[in-house]
């Protein structure tokens, strides 16, 4: 009884801890060069006009690296935000907060990704 209830309420080990831990490390390592590239890209385009910035972002290599960054960062962010929520929010509010964190990560990531593709395709 107690065990079944625990499962329903999602208490105890979800048995996916190692996978989440490892995914957070893989995305962290990938984020290092990608974030450095983002910072250099922004600094290099300070004061640039619209056509210049757009032409820079439309280069295939730039688009690939930025696309990799926003997808990678969205996954990393979702794990991190969920971990924060699980530490401070409990009960039904926790479920809502995790859903919001997930939608936020997916929304911001997808909006960025679509923008990058759109710029890259020149549409």
């Amino acid at each position: 009884m107690a065990t079944a209830l625990k499962r329903v309420r999602g208490l105890g080990s979800a048995r996916s801890g190692t996978e989440t831990f490892w995914r957070q490390r893989v995305t962290a390592v990938a984020n290092i060069p990608l974030v450095i590239f983002l910072i250099l890209s922004i600094v290099a385009n300070i004061g640039a006009d619209y056509a210049e910035v757009r032409a820079y972002l439309a280069q295939p290599l730039v688009a690939i690296l930025l696309l990799a960054l926003v997808i990678n960062a969205a996954i990393h962010m979702r794990i991190g935000l969920k971990e924060i929520v699980e530490d401070y929010v409990h009960g039904g509010a926790k479920v809502v907060a995790i859903l919001l964190a997930t939608f936020f990560a997916a929304g911001v990531g997808l909006a960025s990704a679509v923008a990058i593709v759109k710029i890259g395709l020149g549409s």
Partner: protein
Amino acid sequence: MGHAKSGAERPLSPHLQIYRPMLTMMMSIAHRVSGAANAIGFLLLAWWLVAISMGPEAYAQVSAFFGSIPGRLLLFLFSWSLIHHMLGGIRHLIWDTGRGLDKVSIEILAWATIIGSTALTVLVWVVGYWLKGAF
């Protein structure tokens, strides 16, 4: 085991407020806070990219905001948070290999993260202003 009533007053383990603030503890908090702050920064990045994809008018709006004093302050804090979280993350990756966990090393790594993130952030902004022709 199965007899605990929900809502019963149980002893809690000591939490943050019970401890004297220590550097490594503050760095742990800073890592979490900067991670959450980076989520707001990601929103700014998305706004910037979407505006560029939409056209010159949307780009002019986002540029005007990032060029303003509050916009620049927000960007400065975001760049600091991002670099701090990155160096803090590298610190965590070093720990994951089992290295740097002794008392001396954790202090050195903590200071390296603080000094490194501040110095790199200032460097990025100095180079940025220099490229813009401010000096």
